[in-house]
Symmetry: none
Subunit: 239 residues, 4 copies
DNA sequence: CATGAATGAGCCTTCATTCAT
DNA sequence: GATGAATGAAGGCTCATTCAT
């Protein structure tokens, strides 16, 4: 298996370069030099070019991998959560994962011509998955019927930027949750053509967002358990 | 008075360069070359460097002027609008004006070390003005009491990105309005992830965001008056 | 006249770079590096690129100037010499001037696509002038009537190479003169096929070159054996 | 016999690489990359370097093989043709075979320092063989006595370039034959400076180039005697 | 011994900055 | 002051060569 072994070695290098590039792009923006990436990855400049013939292709590969993971997340949420939870859960996950990754914006919304088609495919996969989740949630009455997948993409991008811009990460997250709530159905005609009908019951831990079982009677629970309750108390008394 | 005449000429040149740079940065991103700016401004490369010794300084000057204008807008809203309207109006104006200007994000939130202190001062002025507006609004009960000025800054940045990322500008604007509504007071606990919160009734001019008096019956008004109705019509027919 | 003075300075630089490039191309072939040209010209790398935005453009400029001078020579000979002398004089001058400048070959004969049209124009000018001289000489009976301008171009290129290849320049020149005499009119049949060539019989494996035994009958073998046949097939199917 | 088998395999690989390199050098010039050669040869880059430690050595090997084949051709012509036929036949064969192979020029005439002495030896062998043929032909009166072997080498190189430069291969060949005829003996002074003089009447045996006595009347003789007439007939009937 | 991935020096080119005019 | 040519330090990319598998 000599050939296989060598290929494994090469693939590991590719992996290292990709990961290093992703980190540096996230940290320092898209203007990082290839030499720096190569240096940090511990390989020569030529190795980077062997795996990614041009810088643009490297950028695309990084983005593609990210979008790929987002699409996987969408599939995960679709499989394991109730319609309403799925969209919100996915959006939150995407926002968290994408915070600070500005070029991701371009890729999820605008369609620049990328040298290879791989990325475009991933984006389509993600948008389609998101669209399905959105449809399910709307049919379940968990989200306004006038929301479109483009709205969600732009919202995602904006929220990711918000999170990255905020000095306090946890406040940012809670703010994003508050904003996302705007998408839940209401009777008010904000998006002009919206016709809201039903209102479904869901509840999440105020601290960590875990879904809570809703009891038909009694005071609604705010936390998923003592851990989160205590954590919230600590923050209140600290503030 | 040759000296004075020359100084006037020089100042005009500075203005032209600044304005051209602002336009090109907005259009083509922060990687525009100085030669292009000089060429578009109709001056030589040396002139640009006389007024702005380095590219970073030019970038800072462009940002500073933008933030300056935002601060002025804040003052305007403070002077001429009710507390509640002022914050929302200002936020919308800032978002509209900043859409697509990504480096503005950095400046409003993170404090990168800029070569000259001018920009930092402008940012402080803006934040202070925004803070005052926020306080007024909160005292007037028009905005949640747990919102801080940092939240608003990050929100601004995120919304600006959202608007820039959305393919449909008017949908984006309406989406942003919907999100901003989340900040209005509710009976729900602070930053609660609020499945079971009810939204109260609000309505705003879809053109300028001014709050509208809600009549209990009849077709809801969409505009605050003929001026905005006409403006919206003009945009529709132009599109 | 400040502007004029500066432009004069710049033009001098351009001239220096062009001349240096011409010399180095002639001396060391077309693979000289731009840095070396810049260094020898006593300017920075950027200056070379200001005047000649790409290496190809620089090469073209060098060639164009050369061809330009050849065309001028053609005009000179046409104006000041008898028809017969003019062609031969021009050919000799062109050969002398072009000796050792191999890329000139490409330009006078083959039409590669050059980035700028300037060069193509010069070549056409030269060929037209040469064609006119040729016609005149033929009408005057000073040159064989079956010679075409393409023959002269190729001859020029070959003779220039000959001169450059010969160790003794003056012998080379006299040899070229002798050869040129072949073009003068004779009674012998046109372009007589005057020397016998005999081809010998051999065959080799088209893959590895091993000599093959030639069977007097049957379809000739192309490979020395199954190994090479298979290898060739693999390459063909690999595309 | 593993060692023997391996050695045979290795030698075949060497042959393949050499042949591929020769082809690519001829097709695409001397700037072909080694990777391309390796790829086309169906071997790895390392294999190329095992057989030819540097690119220059590979180039030299290609040239050496070519010159080797030219020397063999010289021997063949010496063995099987009359003195006059031999030189002209060889020159034509060399020219045909070398057309378009510019680096061959350098090798036949100028002595660049090649890393290995192999090539120099081949060149010497070729020049010696050519020299012998030249002497024979001169003694047979088939070629001007003032021609030296250096002249022939340079002429070869020039003619090869001419052929490569001409757009019409068959015209080029005939032109070259015409030029070669200049080397046949005449009564005119050696290497006459001939631009402005008239040519005198000469006639040569079409087969071996011997000068013929020109009768003022009657049909001009084509052959120097029965031998050459018969030889020409044989060739005509064989073709 | 073959393979092909890794290396890194060097190429062409760009562009912020300097400086002579 | 204004101009725009000159500068030269990187940046992206290539490719001959080396080396681990």
């Amino acid at each position: 298996m000599t050939a296989t072994a060598e290929r494994a070695d090469s693939r590991r290098n590719r992996e290292i370069v990709l990961r290093t590039a992703a980190r540096l792009f996230a940290e320092d923006g898209p203007d990082v030099t290839l030499s720096r990436i190569a240096q940090r990855a511990g390989v020569g400049a030529g190795t980077v070019h062997r795996h990614f013939p041009s810088k643009e292709i490297l950028v695309e590969a990084v983005l593609a991998e990210h979008v790929e993971s987002l699409a996987a997340a969408a599939d995960r949420w679709a499989a394991h959560a109730a319609p309403g939870d799925a969209v919100y859960g996915l959006l939150l996950e995407v926002i968290e994962k994408s915070a600070g990754r500005q070029p991701l914006c371009d890729v999820l919304t605008a369609d620049r011509g990328w040298p290879r088609t791989h990325l475009a495919g991933s984006v389509v996969r993600f948008r389609d998955a998101l669209d399905r989740l959105l449809g399910n949630a709307q049919r379940a009455g968990a989200i306004r019927s006038d929301v479109q997948v483009d709205d969600l993409c732009a919202l995602t991008v904006g929220a990711a930027t918000l999170v990255a811009a905020h000095r306090n990460r946890s406040r940012a997250t809670r703010l994003v949750r508050l904003l996302l709530d705007s998408l839940r159905v209401t009777e008010s005609p904000v998006f002009r053509d919206s016709v809201s009908t039903r209102r479904h019951e869901t509840a999440h831990c105020v601290e960590c967002g875990t879904r809570l079982h809703v009891h038909p009677t009694g005071r609604p629970a705010r936390y998923c358990g003592p851990t989160c309750r205590q954590r919230a108390r600590r923050r209140r008394t600290a503030g």
